[in-house]
């Protein structure tokens, strides 16, 4: 009896130990979870851009996770995205960063696109060595004292000379212009860059108009602008809906001059034409960072996957931009062999060989910001022709 009981006990222990060993081995073999925070306007008028940040990051993380995660040293990490809504505002951005850094313990944050939000939350991310891959137009976002913040899209500082340079070269009859922009930090900063570009290209700016965000009736502004009789009307930093309305109302007011806008003034050409009207939108010219008709294999593959996943065309540049940022971060961490912020941020600056959907992941900017943390991307000039986007030329 005793022998049988003893055998049973030994058998039981053996089973338990084997189960523990299998479980332990399984735990070791399974990939660790790596959290990536997202901060962006997920509600409100700017949510069209915030949703693009999420989509771009989602596509990249799903692609990485489908391969079992990204390797760093002997570990493999699957990505978990944690998005928070900053409503395009500073206080909400700061709240989101506090949650991501102290509660969720993330090491990298994608976003925001709001300068006010980023400037607010950098007081949390920089001292805590959390990498931020953002896109906002304020000059102050990048600084030698902010080594962990990278801007992954060109701003008006880089694009204004390209766009206005194109005008000066291709439209020599344009001698003067009027600019218009939202009346806030973003609008002022962007306008400043375009005013400099116009000056450098000997185009006289007759008037710079600003309006409060939320304005829908541009007739009063356009009455002032019409009185100046400009050769060119230039949108500096307004969202696509505002620009579509302005174009429509300008033509209704009898303003016949060339109308042009910054990259980002048209996110979806079909919707833009829907707002402005096909006839009014004809010949509207604008900068764009992404050519969605590109034949480059990576771009084609990205667009196909995007359309299949989201059942919508891929017109915006923010989606591929944050797709590239997520993929590039994973690549940089893998090459660095570490998730340490100092090592990854150093590696990010040294991976120009990494080709994203929007070209090489190359950083520059020492001359303008004192540090090479500004990504240089492609830039095109496009135009609405017969209700559709046509790429006129690549300016970078």
């Amino acid at each position: 009896m005793k022998d049988r009981s003893s055998s049973k006990a030994k058998g039981f222990v053996a089973i338990v130990l084997t189960s523990l060993l299998i479980f332990g081995l399984y735990a070791l073999a399974a990939a660790e979870t790596f959290k990536i925070g997202i901060i962006g306007p997920l509600s409100g008028p700017a949510s069209v851009w915030g949703q693009q940040i999420v989509r771009g990051a989602e596509m990249a993380s799903e692609e990485i996770n489908a391969k079992g995660g990204f390797p760093v040293g002997n570990e493999k990490y699957t990505i978990k995205l944690i998005p928070y809504d900053d409503k395009y505002k500073g206080p909400e951005g700061l709240t989101a960063a506090n949650k991501l850094v102290f509660d969720d313990k993330v090491k990298v944050i994608l976003g925001s696109i709001s300068s006010a939000s980023i400037l607010a939350f950098q007081v949390v991310t920089e001292p805590n060595k959390v990498l931020v891959l953002c896109n906002s137009f304020s000059h102050q976002v990048l600084d030698t004292k902010k080594p962990y913040t990278f801007r992954i899209l060109m701003t008006s500082l880089e694009k204004a000379p390209l766009e206005v340079g194109w005008v000066a070269k291709n439209k020599p009859n344009i001698k003067n212009a009027v600019t218009w922009a939202p009346n806030d930090v973003s609008g002022w900063d962007v306008t400043k860059h375009y005013l400099k570009a116009f000056k450098d290209n000997n185009i006289n700016v007759l008037l710079s108009e600003y309006y409060e965000r939320g304005t829908r009736d541009f007739y009063p502004i356009l009455t002032r602008i019409k009185a100046k009789n400009p050769d060119l009307l230039y949108s500096c930093g307004s969202p696509p809906g505002d620009v579509g309305l302005m174009v429509k109302q300008a033509r209704e007011m009898g303003i016949k001059c060339m109308i042009m806008g910054h990259a980002g003034s048209v996110e979806d050409p079909e919707k833009f034409v829907g707002i402005a009207g096909k006839k009014n939108a004809e010949d509207y010219t604008y900068g764009t960072d992404f050519n969605f008709e590109s034949k480059e294999p990576k771009a084609v593959q990205f667009i196909e996957k995007y359309v299949k996943k989201y059942s919508r065309p891929c017109y915006g540049y923010v989606d591929p931009c944050f797709y590239d940022a997520t993929m590039a971060y994973a690549y940089a961490a893998h090459k660095a062999g570490s998730l340490d912020a100092d090592k990854v941020q150093e590696m990010l600056k040294r991976i120009p060989e990494y080709e994203g959907v929007m070209g090489a992941f190359k950083f520059s900017g020492k001359e303008d910001y004192g540090t090479d943390q500004q990504r240089l991307t492609t830039c095109f000039i496009a135009q609405i022709k017969d209700g559709k986007q046509v790429i006129l030329s690549q300016v970078r």
Partner: protein, 284 residues
Amino acid sequence: MEQLFQPLINGLMAGFIYVLVALGLTLVFSIMGIINFAHGEIYMLGAFVTYILTVSYRVNFFLSMVIAMGVMILLGLLIERIIFRPLRGHQLNILVISLGLAILLQNLALIAWGPDDVSIPSPYPEAIEVLGINLSMERLAAVVIAAILITGLHLFLQFSRSGRAMRAVSQDPEAASLQGVPIERIESLSFGLGCALAAAAGGLIGPIFVISPFIGTVPVMKAFVVIILGGLGSIPGAVLGGIILGVTESFSATFVGAIFQDMIGFFIILLVLILKPSGLLGYE
């Protein structure tokens, strides 16, 4: 001359849209004594219903607007019956709940239709130029339709049985009740009518501006300014207030600058209220 007439025309056109939104708000306040912060979202939903019917189902624009008004009347009756009626007499609670309702409706619209701006294709011919003044046919039509609706409301209130009952309730609900006026039915009717007017304004702006879940906030703020300027509960006051606000904003933006538009408008309102706190045509 064109420099003066263009801003005047611009201002009148904007003013009539403000009036239409404000009328619904002031009607509800004068009869029910409540301030409905969700009024802007009713305007937004009216615009979306018009958009969906016109663009997705290819219904005639004007018929779509009428249907949108009907749909918003039903929604208004539901809101009044389920949310506001149980809280009658508790004005602060109603104020707070209407704020919550506004947030809820906006976010439901965001989930349903997304954040992107859309526009209703214009059912009107192109803009015309008369004596150097540019007139958008969409805005002209909006002014004409708004004028018809305002006149219709006035005639309804003056000459119909229900209209007289509504005026009686607005003057003295207890006395009206003693005379046999069904207070609850009249309050429901006024709320529904207020929603219909907001929906009409929303439908009218569809081809003029853009539609998105966020378009309700600014018009309702302007509507509050209009009804305070004109006098709380005064319908002629709302008409006068809307026109004054529209024209003031237009001239400020044209001759001073767009960024001063709201500032100058509010300054003028401040002056009026200091001199006449009950508003231009409000009751003392």
